[in-house]
Symmetry: D2
Amino acid sequence: MESNAVMHVTVWNEFIHERSMPVVQKNYPEGIHRVLASAIEQRWGANVSVHCATLDQPLHGLSDDVLAKTDVMLWWGHAGHDKVADSIVDKVQRRVLEGMGLIVLHSGHASKIFRRLMGTTCMLRWREADEKERLWIVSPGHVILDGIQGEYFELAASEMYGELFDIPQPDELLTVSWFEGGEVFRSACTFRRGKGKIFYFSPGHETYPIYHDFNVQRIITNAIAWARPTDGTVQLAGRNIKQPLSPIAPNTPS
Amino acid sequence: MESNAVMHVTVWNEFIHERSMPVVQKNYPEGIHRVLASAIEQRWGANVSVHCATLDQPLHGLSDDVLAKTDVMLWWGHAGHDKVADSIVDKVQRRVLEGMGLIVLHSGHASKIFRRLMGTTCMLRWREADEKERLWIVSPGHVILDGIQGEYFELAASEMYGELFDIPQPDELLTVSWFEGGEVFRSACTFRRGKGKIFYFSPGHETYPIYHDFNVQRIITNAIAWARPTDGTVQLAGRNIKQPLSPIAPNTPS
Amino acid sequence: MESNAVMHVTVWNEFIHERSMPVVQKNYPEGIHRVLASAIEQRWGANVSVHCATLDQPLHGLSDDVLAKTDVMLWWGHAGHDKVADSIVDKVQRRVLEGMGLIVLHSGHASKIFRRLMGTTCMLRWREADEKERLWIVSPGHVILDGIQGEYFELAASEMYGELFDIPQPDELLTVSWFEGGEVFRSACTFRRGKGKIFYFSPGHETYPIYHDFNVQRIITNAIAWARPTDGTVQLAGRNIKQPLSPIAPNTPS
Amino acid sequence: MESNAVMHVTVWNEFIHERSMPVVQKNYPEGIHRVLASAIEQRWGANVSVHCATLDQPLHGLSDDVLAKTDVMLWWGHAGHDKVADSIVDKVQRRVLEGMGLIVLHSGHASKIFRRLMGTTCMLRWREADEKERLWIVSPGHVILDGIQGEYFELAASEMYGELFDIPQPDELLTVSWFEGGEVFRSACTFRRGKGKIFYFSPGHETYPIYHDFNVQRIITNAIAWARPTDGTVQLAGRNIKQPLSPIAPNTPS
């Protein structure tokens, strides 16, 4: 990672389907992470330093050093959720609570890290039927939706993700998706945990070229800017404060 | 548990301090759970069947049968958090997501089950200095505060619990506590996880007779009524829905 | 209103369409308010005393005496929003802030009272095309959804109400509706204002017999129970507190 | 307003106390608005164009042209709330719903515009007794708190503002204040209304030099950046959509 960048982003991808399924290979020949990394670099230029990490690397590419430097992490996983070591999940969770932003994409809803941070199953309905998905904006003016034109946008073919999505009520609900087959879905949600900001965004099935879509890239890159940590120094550990913090006495205006 | 009761409540207490610390023994000779159980029975009478369970029982008193029958569980723990088996925590979490209410009391903030459901450290500041705690109502009219007179109520001596309390933003914030030494605390909070309702209430240090207090008992017993499950049948498991749910065609009014 | 009832409900209806449009007259020969009143009486029996009020009555049927006695008010309006006197809206708003529950139905989204309480335009998209509406549950276990079977329910023909619905983010989002024509809608929402609980529920177009539907009646009658005031006595007026509330000094446990 | 600036800010101040009370004149010889304007210019430099407006100007300084250009408005009022014309309040409300940010300061809690947007009385407790106020951070990592060091910060002498603060539950609660006399207060809150972001911040009594404080200036200037509108084009007016939005048919991946 270069030291001049304002923001260090790590794109984590399990990188399994791209190497085993021809249709996915065609959409993402170098992996979903590379398409996301390019979109981030194109959007934020020299302000950002993007790093990729995959499941099969030592420590899944998430060494202590990488974690410490990362301001915002993207997470794409599906077939390999169970292969992610708990010790790494522990560390990612700790970093989120310390302030690292986390963007959880599509099937990442069932990842260990997202379930850990939500406290629920994060399960949902799903169907692969090449359906149109229409994402309606319900938080107009939100910075994560900046630049999205109109009241909704569409994906011509998408995997259906439907309610009930077993998550805590989001802090902010940004879009609700409509699917041809009869379902709806809370497709863009924000959460705060500790000092960290979390964004879940559902579009992104590997068999569709969704991460090449302008609106999808716009939302993800907006979310990265939104999720980056501030420089606050509040500590989260439990502390036994032995005495009242300071003498408390009436004061006069200075 | 009797079968005629509308509501089955399990009061779980680690039951450690009451058997080792004279001051706690004096406040709660038969254990904190017995005082809570009495308050619940006194309030709800024949509508409720109350069961107690403690850490040292087999399965911590939380067999599958007990868990399946429990509508609302109270949780008091402190010195023994680490001694609670993960397998039991798994089961309690599952029951909450299925709809069982959970009332987490005082030092239960650091219990495995609460941290599991919140996704954060749940840590806070604390100090034992016999301080006055004044609980200000910020959600007037909430059913959990029903019967509390005035704009605040006080505990003459309480353990200080102070911010930052590392929890997700509560769905509802009911009271904010003021402490003599200079701290504030979000002392009564609600959360929803899956189909389950969760209430965290901070007063209750073992060295003070706080669970004998009228307002504290009132809030806890109100919360039990609030947290009881409804009879909804929504399932939370992930499901692959192979076809659109039903033929979709314009309809005329019946 | 009878004095033995636990809960006094006032069903307010502008009562215009039922007297001018044959199709509405057929669905609601005595007015939408009478169908709602019957459903409430059937559900809650002797626990409830139901009163109806309409736009053309003196003070729109909402005298100070009626308002003072009302625990929960239902509001259905459409063509006559502008005919509701501001002085009555002032009084209804005050009663909500004092703790009166308010259930706003369908086209009541554009009523003066709802817009007043929300602070936004409360506008939305709409279309009358006899479309199927499917209401998906997103807050399973919520007491307002008690007794609703399954993960969604349907209305065979409904007026489309679609996003963007210009409301503040609801405190709780209970259902999201799917419409055949391509829209979604946050169709069941809760809000708190002062001591009052507010529930907005969108189904209910006058040209369809929607208020005869079991699920719709169940949700509305559940909401009435949810919205009823507690007996708390917190006052909301501004107050100049001249002195600190009480001497603040360290205390010892009693 | 200069055209090169990224952000146009209007600081509105009733400007009454500064001209009639010596102590206020001493703190703010040219008016509270001038101190705020300087702080904003010092923080954001050429990125911002700051304009001041006061009650005694024609249209209170808020012509259609000024309103149309304003990205973020600050509002300080107290003695003159009732003197603000309803027609201007209507226009400010409309601009907020269209996306203009609004920062409401201190006694602005009782302004027409804030009450209009909240739907509640916005009343609170208060006392002038030169008390210490300690603001505890409860949303660490929030961009509005960026640069605030430590877990709390203090104002040596402040007017007490206490609960119950009659507002809707904030979308985000950032700080909770502790006062020597025994009160707490939700002192920094965010709300969304339409496309507009609203921030309420309670410190700022005219008899204290609070707007010269570093932390207070930092939070207000942070909030301006947070509240600025995005360039989204979602419209909020009610619309009758006569036909389903587009032909809905199964699609194949492109």
